[in-house]
Subunit: 379 residues, 2 copies
């Protein structure tokens, strides 16, 4: 069980589909995937060419469709989005330039397939252009960091954006030259014309086990920006008006696999927006051994990045997962009208107690903060 | 499918267990229930008398055990908690006093069983002492509201607390006499000596469909208190230091069943505390018809309260659910040490960006708030 596999199945859905009879499966799926909440998540029509291409290039291709109700005063705002998860291609002891080039070539295949499939906004995984080497604590991997304006990965994604008229979110390890070589974990948002709209630097930096990421880069200083693109307002944050939030991630089975199906859905529900959770895939082995702060002997890999990228909708429903062991492209049609419809239905944006939160946080950040505790006088 | 049943199974777990072979089931459960994250959720030893009593009285009894790692400087802090979900007993057109008395008698059976089973903190469901009549919008049901200090339900729970040396959380519809008959949705926290430690009034009042609860009571004014009891710090809030949070709820299948397995677990993970989610059970029919704001014809019930109460742990694991159609008592042993251990592991309490949140909320609540939006200049 240490590999955390799914007993030979590519996804949890496939495991359940293989064993639970259809009349019972509908009940399980209603609770697990929300198929009865809002509109069903259905399969998307897709040209055989695109499916054939995915087969030839040996990556997982899955689709989903999220409908919204018709409105009288506003047309549907359907956007076709793409999520790409990728393994590294060459071993981690290959020359860095070769490693980076091989990844770009591979991801380029999937980006082009997304373009052929009519995707208008595509997002890659966290630090997609390099191995997730932070587990090693070796600073040599900082060489992969690049400029968010002129780095190879960014220029590569700008070309793809121009080629397909597609917004590309390109999450990189950023080298910030003007600020004295500071390193950040940054998502660069590239417009459909290939221009850079802006960037967001990761705010919450893990300091856990092999994800000792604070060794490498600092807490982001770009706030909570929302990017207004030709195809909608995208970001990582709801209160500034995002309707589609991408969460490019890299996380392994033993640490987080039971959390993965929860977090994106909870964020989508709580904020009435779509969330696309994209996780790295594959097991990465490093040249020199390292320990993981868990008392176990040194080793050269730190577990399996389990992929399983998916889309969660504001009404609580979700798409199927991409595979657990394979590169993949998930194509989803989402009607952004579902965001405001969900806000109108649940009203979280109004029943939230923002005054109370503002007051609480203002007090909490003070060094002399006193928690509100009512103690049983009998104690 | 409008009954939203589980195809004849009491819980989702039982549905899966009936169809998925054991060697595959372990993989599905690892992802769905987090059995590989932290310690396993195991069955709790329980006297046959208690099990026999549950059988005779025809309520669902389930158990769970959440372990923490041994520490050198602190002993385990295992607390046995109980979650009780209950149907109403008499029809809603019976005299109100009879309805309330019948519910107290029934819930008393389960509280006594909890006491016999050694439970030290028990929590009842939201407004457990009355039908969930808010769907009707009729003000006649306000008669069920009672004083949080001297009401029948509170006095009843105080007696139970004294009898068993048990903390009781008693969520009622509160009638606030000193404030001119204001009505609140209030959880009264009763100490193990039967004294009232304090109360919390629900902050976020739904205004959705049949849950037009703002018709009846106001947004709470008690802040985010944490109650320090003989058996731990309990509340609904983590940043004031709660280690165990009860969420007494009442929600129906079509509205929220796919959200139910997510929300408590996400809160437990995000705040590094235990969450006990308790949902009402049964279908309640009212004397006079009402509409649900969904364009459908008037009717006399608004769906099935699906029970399914469960406990979520800070490490992402969870207990089995209570049944979907039956009264029930869930008994769980939880080691509160797991809270700080999880905080030490993940460090969310440190990597959170409280300064940024404080600044954001302070700006957000201003009428002239401007969202941080980066617009593609090509637009």
């Amino acid at each position: 069980m240490s590999d955390g596999s799914l007993g030979g199945y590519a996804t949890l859905e496939e495991l359940l589909e293989a064993h639970v009879p259809a009349d019972k499966l509908q009940h399980a799926k209603r609770v697990l995937y929300g198929l009865n909440v809002g509109e069903p998540v259905a399969d998307l029509a897709m040209s055989p060419d695109v499916r054939e291409r995915a087969k030839q290039m040996d990556f997982d291709l899955r689709t989903a469709l999220f409908r919204a109700a018709p409105e009288q005063l506003r047309p549907p705002r359907v956007v076709r989005i793409g999520l790409i998860q990728n393994k590294i291609v060459l071993p981690t002891d290959a020359p860095f330039a070769d490693q980076a080039k091989a990844i770009r070539d591979r991801v380029g295949q999937m980006i082009d397939t997304a373009g052929q499939a009519g995707v208008k906004v595509v997002c890659l995984q966290e630090a997609w252009h390099m191995p997730f080497a932070f587990c090693t604590r070796e600073k040599v991997w900082c060489e992969f960091a690049e400029s968010a304006e002129t780095g190879d990965s960014v220029v590569f994604c700008q070309a793809a954006a121009r080629k397909w008229g597609m917004v590309v979110i390109c999450p990189i390890l950023e080298r910030d030259g003007p600020h004295n070589e500071t390193v950040w974990n940054t998502a660069v948002v590239i417009g459909h014309n290939g221009n850079i709209i802006g960037k967001h630097r990761k705010n919450h930096i893990p300091r856990v086990g092999d994800f000792n990421e604070s060794t490498y880069y600092m807490e982001g200083n770009t706030g909570h920006p929302v990017f207004e693109t030709a195809f909608g307002r995208i970001a990582a944050f709801g209160m500034n008006g995002a309707e589609l939030v991408f969460n490019p991630a890299a996380t392994v089975g033993e640490l987080s696999e039971p959390l993965w199906p929860i977090e994106a859905r909870n964020a989508a529900i709580a904020n009435s927006y779509f969330v696309a959770g994209i996780n790295r895939v594959g097991t990465e082995t490093f040249p020199r051994e390292f320990t993981s702060g868990d008392g176990k002997p040194a080793h050269k890999d730190f577990g399996h990045f389990y992929g399983s990228s998916y889309v969660a909708a504001p009404d609580g429903s979700r798409s199927p997962s991409l595979a657990r062991h394979k590169d993949g492209l998930l194509v989803a049609d989402i009607d952004l009208n579902l965001c405001r419809q969900t806000k109108d239905k649940w009203g979280f944006q109004m029943t939230a107690r923002y005054d109370m939160y503002a007051d609480f946080f203002a007090r909490y950040v003070r060094p002399d903060f006193k928690p509100q505790i009512l103690r049983d006088p009998a104690l």
